[in-house]
Symmetry: C2
Subunit: 623 residues, 2 copies
């Protein structure tokens, strides 16, 4: 089962981690001195640097290495844009209210919690328990009526007051506002960054010289007005997203560079596995695409690149899987969707969505704006097509319809071959054709139009590109990373620390003079200069605590390397010791070699094992 | 006059620049296919990279080099926070409406434009012109009544319809929204990032081990619902800000590192100069602080660092000045404020504010939350103070006042020495004291309190830190940079280009093979690898255009260096030419030296002049 793939981290203590994160200001609830706001978090210096490093690596791994077009669009979004995308009508959760005090609950969460309470209650009958399990299994697919029925049947009440609950009401999760002073320009804060890319499709395609495929990417804020967010960073109302929209020919989703990742092994939890109650399976992505388990090469490529990114920033590979959406979970237009899910103390958390959204979004914006969002595809061989056209006789049309003439001309030009042929037939039979434009009927007589039939040679075909969309919730990845990096020293469980990969560690090294003796000061200055010249961040801890206590304090905030300046450092050429926090092993080297070594370690150009082989081991009794 | 300090860029053509920026997708109006929204802009790949590079340099120049504490707070801000900061009541512009169609205008802009129209009208009498000039000079300090009076006196109408205008109405510039499903949790999008730092002051001070001074910084979005934004990137509704809050002892705003910048010369346009009609003057910042023209060293330090940053990213030093706020421009609590203003085709634009905001913000949030936002300052010598305390007799108090006892105890403890002494006197005279708590009166009798008088030794003093706030509008700096970087080739004015400093250029080099010959492909691959290993961005242009046309195309988007692979490149060791776009001069060097050279040029470790001395010149007739 999938449990077998997941590790046992029995000793993980979330309260201890949360205490550390709050105490050392990785993040905290926003506006805490005002009582705090649920679902909003502020990042302190440590969290902010960790997040910035994760984003920088994301930019390098995707935007730079893949040559993507990065854009930066506004959060404020006019209503018509989100009407077209479907968010105004469908981006909602079902909510029930306490009938007496009006308190709101997300209906599915309330049912889940109430059901779990029943299941844990010894007094619940075996029959009810079976019923409960059946509800849990189907809950994801429930609509408002299903949920209302369950709440009524089980008699669920408000978990806080015990009062009755209303029927489920749809609550749109977008934050509403308005633009400008008149109050009639409705807008929302964007619930995702993707729409900003779609509405700029034409310009991006131009920028790419009209060629498909290409990918655009955006790093920015998303906003969702969650009904009653819990679970810390996992469910928040304002968050940083990284989204990619890869535009591709819908009939050819192969990708040459897929070959580079085809042997990469992923843990796949396919829809079939889920339906059949089978566990997730490890499989090379090349095999999965060949077997059509994953829909196409482009989607498979991004899943493999997603895994590479997550492992690089420090996600535990044993706690990562890709779960395919069941058909009832997917939007009607989506062709395939695989979530990268990470196992945390909250269970498996969806952190990245990798979806083939077909051409839905571009088509919706085209319908709403009448701006063609298409690409031209060169035909393999030129094709002969028959054209049937209705050309307006503008002189007569102007006389008959005055200012409407232009509109009628446009409507005639937009008719399909079939429509023109139908018109031709009617004109022949009745000498009259009723043309409807913007809900107005116009009487077209034979003298007003010339019907032309000819054939022409097409060299290109107009296509609406399909979109493959990887979408990253950086806060969720970051929280998972914090759990996966959290360690306790063996034999001293009070001594907790964070073992970040040096690549993303908020601060790369600490500088710890063994004593406050003046003689060490010039050496400390040399160390600082050496690190600064390699743009490596450091934290000098020259407080009076014992070296062991100072190590513990820097380990706690995930500083991977500790540089100790001792009295042996005075000898020329100056040397210092470098301690690897995770393993607590130390080596000794010259100050002039520090920058290159730590720089290499932080860019994954060298491992600590490499460094240990190159430099002499330093033994100490300090810890 | 200041005109003498400003350059003559007579040939600057804003339409040509705007055409380039739109055509090559630096940025464009947001939601253009939906008709666009004024005051909202999307950045395309070029603008996005330029902005990202400017922000990265800002982070390096300020946060890393100065060891600032970076935070990342939410845009969504509850109403009470912005009530305390004064934004709910005062963050507004005066607006007049067309009485017939309701169209809105910012009152001061309408007056300014209408007055300027009158001044440019030959038919306007000399007397009226004098009146007009007087209004213009005083406009900045006008309140709603002043503006209404001017509009009425001159008979100003809507510039669009000619209809009458309403009296000026205050329009709050914050975007309103609400958090959660109930609709009664009012919130706004933050108008500045600063408040997020102030509300986290306690945690940040703790993070800094309780020590002053320290600086916190934030890079993030700000939102202002401008009434009718014009002027492109200069006045927008959603924008990226970089803000620093430097917390300092209000009685000692000296800064040791000020010495490092004291000789830096700045163009200062002091309040006195402005009042006396004198021009701005160039002065070393050390002199300016000594003469008290600039209020203190900390403020002066940030002004000098501001200039360094602006010049590094490419602002023309001849078009930069620091203008001091006049006393009627400054908030009542501010002690001094100097805007970095940059000259553009829109005139002098405020791009950075450098303000000494005293302790206003921390005090306001303290008042609103009752959470002490203070630091402890070690006293030079311990001080003896007399304490007069009213201690509650809790047993009796509980009996008399039940649930109110706790509240009364707290109120008694909060009394000042003087208040306790007054109570003591009243208790002695009347055996009764009326204590008011939360608008309720309580009768305190002598048996309920013990009055204690003693002296104690204080080692620390509680102080509310002052705040020095540099605040950068990155979009405005970026727009100014685009104007200052815009060039036309001498003798060919159609050939325009952008001469960015390599440090911020969106793409660092182009790779231009002289021919499509297969033989050059492996050399191109070597060049790409060499650049990638130094993390240098590049754009390969292997299209069939002439080399001159391809140079022009890459110059246009500000790529500073062009690498040409020609048939001489084949000879071992492979060599290529590097062309400096701004000067169009070329040198020739080995492929294996490329990464280091261009890396150094982009990090300002070498200049093009240095490179020209080191490598042989390459002459070509191609341009």
């Amino acid at each position: 089962t999938e449990i077998a793939l997941a590790p046992k981290e029995a000793s993980f203590d979330r309260l201890k981690l949360e205490d550390l994160l709050k105490r050392r200001f990785f993040y905290d609830q926003s506006f805490a001195i005002y009582g705090g706001v649920t679902g909003l978090y502020d990042f302190g210096p440590m969290g902010c640097a960790l997040k910035a490093n994760m984003l920088q690596e994301w930019r390098k791994h995707f935007i730079l290495e893949e040559g993507m077009l990065e854009v930066d669009c506004t959060s404020l979004t006019p209503e018509p844009v989100l009407k077209a995308s479907g968010h105004v009508d469908r981006f909602a959760d079902w909510m029930v209210k306490d009938t007496k005090n009006g308190e709101c609950f997300r209906a599915d969460h309330l049912i889940k919690n109430s059901i779990e309470k029943l299941l844990n209650d010894k007094k619940t009958s075996a029959e009810t328990k079976k019923d409960c399990e059946d509800v849990l299994a189907r809950l994801e697919g429930f609509d408002n009526n299903d949920m209302h029925q369950v709440i009524t049947r089980f008699g669920f009440k408000s978990p806080i007051t015990g009062n009755d609950l209303t029927e489920p009401i749809a609550f749109n999760l977008m934050f509403p506002t308005q633009i400008g002073p008149t109050g009639d320009f409705k807008a929302f804060l964007r619930p995702e960054t993707a729409q900003g890319i779609f509405v700029n499709f034409k310009r991006l395609l131009e920028f790419n010289q009209g060629k498909l495929p290409f990918a655009a990417a955006q790093i920015g804020l998303g906003f969702r007005n969650e009904i009653s967010p819990r679970q810390g960073l996992i469910r928040v109302r304002e968050f940083t997203m990284c989204e990619i929209e890869h535009f591709v020919d819908p009939e050819d989703k192969r990708l040459p560079k897929f070959a580079k990742v085809a042997n990469e092994k992923l843990v796949l939890f396919s829809a079939c596995n889920q339906m059949d109650g089978e566990p997730a399976k490890e499989l090379a992505i090349g095999e999965a695409v060949k077997a059509k388990t994953v829909a196409n090469e482009t989607l498979g490529y991004y899943m493999a690149r997603c895994q590479q990114y997550l492992l690089k920033v420090g996600i535990d590979p044993r706690r990562l899987r890709f779960r395919q959406h069941l058909s009832n979970e997917m939007a009607h237009y989506a062709q395939d969707c695989w979530d990268a899910e990470i196992l945390t103390s909250y269970g498996w958390i969806e952190c990245v969505g990798n979806a083939d959204r077909a051409c839905y979004d571009l088509q919706q914006h085209y319908k709403a704006t009448n701006v063609k969002l298409i690409a031209e595809k060169k035909l393999e061989k030129p094709t002969e097509v028959n054209v049937v056209e209705a050309q307006a006789n503008m002189a007569l049309l102007g006389k008959s319809f005055k200012k409407d003439a232009k509109k009628i001309q446009g409507a005639l030009a937009a008719l399909t071959n079939e429509e023109v042929e139908q018109m031709e037939a009617e004109l022949k039979e009745n000498k009259l054709f009723k043309l409807t434009v913007d809900n107005n009927d116009f009487n077209i007589t034979p003298d007003l139009v010339n019907i032309k039939k000819y054939s022409k040679t097409l060299h290109v075909q107009e296509i609406t590109p399909s979109v493959i969309e990887p979408s990253y919730g950086i806060g969720r990845v970051m929280y998972s990373l914090l759990e996966h990096s959290f360690r306790q020293r063996e034999g001293d469980e009070q001594r907790t620390f964070l073992a970040f990969p040096p690549l993303v560690a908020p601060i790369k090294c600490s500088i710890l003079p063994i004593s406050a003796n003046e003689k060490l000061v010039p050496i400390i200055e040399k160390v600082k200069e050496e690190l600064a010249s390699y743009e490596l961040s450091y934290k000098l801890d020259d407080s009076s605590g014992s070296i062991g206590r100072r190590y513990a304090r820097t380990d706690e905030i995930g500083i991977p390397f500790g540089i100790t300046v001792d009295f042996d450092s005075e000898t020329l050429p100056h040397t210092v010791t470098v301690r690897h926090a995770e393993s607590m092993t130390q080596i000794r080297l010259e100050v002039s070699e520090l920058g290159r070594l730590i720089g290499d370690l932080c860019k994954n150009r060298q491992t600590w094992q490499d460094a240990q082989q190159k430099y002499p081991k330093f033994e100490t009794a300090n810890e």
